[in-house]
Amino acid sequence: MSREGLINLALGLGLLAFPLWAEWAEEPFMITLSTRVAILALAGVGLNLSLGLGGLVSLGHAAFFGIGGYAMGILASHAQSYTPIFEWPLVIEGTKAMPVIWLVAIAAAGLLALAIGALSLRTSGVYFIMITLAFGQMLFYFAVSWPAYGGEDGLSIYVRNAFPGLNTLVPLQFFLIAYALLMAVLGLAALITRSPFGLALDAARQVPVRVETVGIAPYRLRLIAFVISGMITGLAGALYADLNRFVSPAMFNWQTSGEIVILVILGGTARLFGPVAGAAFFVALEHLLGGVSDYWRIYLGLVLLAVVLFARGGIVGTLAGREAADG
């Protein structure tokens, strides 16, 4: 196994072992932190597809995270108040079933990513960053000013949504759901990276004209990558809302986008398990320093600066060295 493979294995097992230890040590809060890591990592895996493989620096992934969160909030709030979402032309009820919520979140985020991507991918570089940021902020203000679902106060969901056969209110059980989804999506991301599509997308990041010259349109590759990326981040958003049993416009905020970007860069852009390392580091720092100082993000900023200046490959890249050539 390659060095990076071993690091990935350690990260995957570590993320599973930590909450198991916490369960044994009766530290439920540590389990919740682990769940947070798994969910943020999932959001990062989504972003990593467009940022790492596609070279598309999106500062608007909060849009997908947020829409996933609101998909959960809207469906669950209607279910808890026993009011249908629509009565016409056909009656659509809310639901508390996680699998249904996830599918709705993924579909909604995918459609949103298709619309945002179709417009913003016509630009590149700084313009792309700015346009994605603008779309994210538009959704933020929309959520703030939409009173039906709590406006700026957000929406509380009293009981965590249900998964067949599990008690999702038990922290370890909910963790296992998030962890299983993370692992499944990592597997998918690994497949995509090595697939013909991934090869072309990665080449389009390096030399777009080469890809065009062999008869493949970079725009299409990027749009597909952006949609898959948005869907994954949307799924993470639904889980995140379920973890907190609360959704608010803050999920749509540009800071959320920034944090997802930061954890991908910290962990190692384009590295499969980079977002896992990045999310673990991020949550650990937030937990350890957040209690000491309200300004813990300053330290986060310093770490980020150090990574960008001295360790371009992030945590995984620095530990694993150059990427394995046989990908």
Binding site: R194, S195, P196, V209, E212, T213, V214, G215, I216
Partner: protein, 249 residues
């Protein structure tokens, strides 16, 4: 003569006050190598870019495979069967040599939107990519990172990627540059074979290779074609000798 595969008809292109192409016409017929020569800055690469669809001419038309492709982009022209190599290598430097060749094979397959089976384990893509690498003599470097190749090897990989496309016409911008004697000998041999698979529009400074290979030569000077003819005609042309070949003898 057979119907031309590629026709450039009265193409002009200016960059501000600089006329890089002035009423250029040339064609490429099946089975031939048509060399395009001219001094540095004559506008050879600019013409290639217009043929490939990377630049739009200000005037004139480009026909390929019996179609007017003047308004088509790079992707569409590639899909019609145009196989281009770049003067300055345009390769995915982080990828291996094999991955670069696989990309060409993938483009040729016309089905790039496949998400599950690894590209490296697709037997059709592999066969096509490895055959092209074998033909240019890069099989041993297959697993090397492209950024670790020598300059000449990168030029050769450019040609291999074009080969994977099995194009209807090759358009090559100085494929011999930086190859060294044995490398250019090998490539000369390969191009000689290739012309029977698809005709080649060959921009080249290496006059030995040009005189050995070309069926026809066009001479471009200051954006204008000053002569087109066989090797003997071009060698004998007084205007060409003055403008371009003069310093050689």
């Amino acid at each position: 003569m057979a119907e031309p595969v590629l026709q450039v008809q009265g193409v002009s292109k200016s960059f501000g006050a600089l006329a890089a192409s002035q009423d250029v016409s040339l064609d490429l017929v099946p089975g031939e190598i048509h060399a395009l020569i001219g001094p540095n800055g004559a506008g050879k690469s600019t013409l290639i870019q217009q043929i490939a669809g990377a630049l739009r001419p200000d005037a004139g038309r480009i026909r390929f495979m019996g179609r007017d492709v003047t308004q088509l982009g790079i992707v569409q022209r590639a899909r019609l069967g145009l196989g281009r190599t770049f003067q300055i290598s345009a390769l995915a430097m982080e990828h291996t040599v094999l991955q670069n060749a696989l990309l060409g094979a993938l483009g040729a397959s016309g089905r790039p939107y496949r998400f599950l089976r690894p590209a490296l384990r697709d037997p059709d893509l592999r066969r096509r990519a490895e055959a092209a690498l074998e033909r240019v003599g890069l099989s041993e470097q297959m697993w090397m990172r492209t950024s670790d190749l020598s300059h000449g090897q990168r030029r050769t990989l450019e040609v291999a990627v074009a080969l994977t496309l099995a194009p209807r016409a090759f358009v090559m911008d100085e494929p011999m540059a930086g190859l060294g004697t044995s490398g250019s000998k090998r490539l000369t041999g390969l191009l000689d074979e290739l012309r029977h698979e698809a005709p080649i529009l060959l921009v080249e400074h290496d006059m030995d290779a040009v005189f050995a290979l070309a069926d026809r030569i066009s001479v471009l000077v200051y954006g204008r074609i000053i002569a087109t003819g066989t090797v003997e005609e071009i060698r004998a042309d007084p205007e060409v000798r003055r403008a371009y070949l003069g310093e050689e003898d």
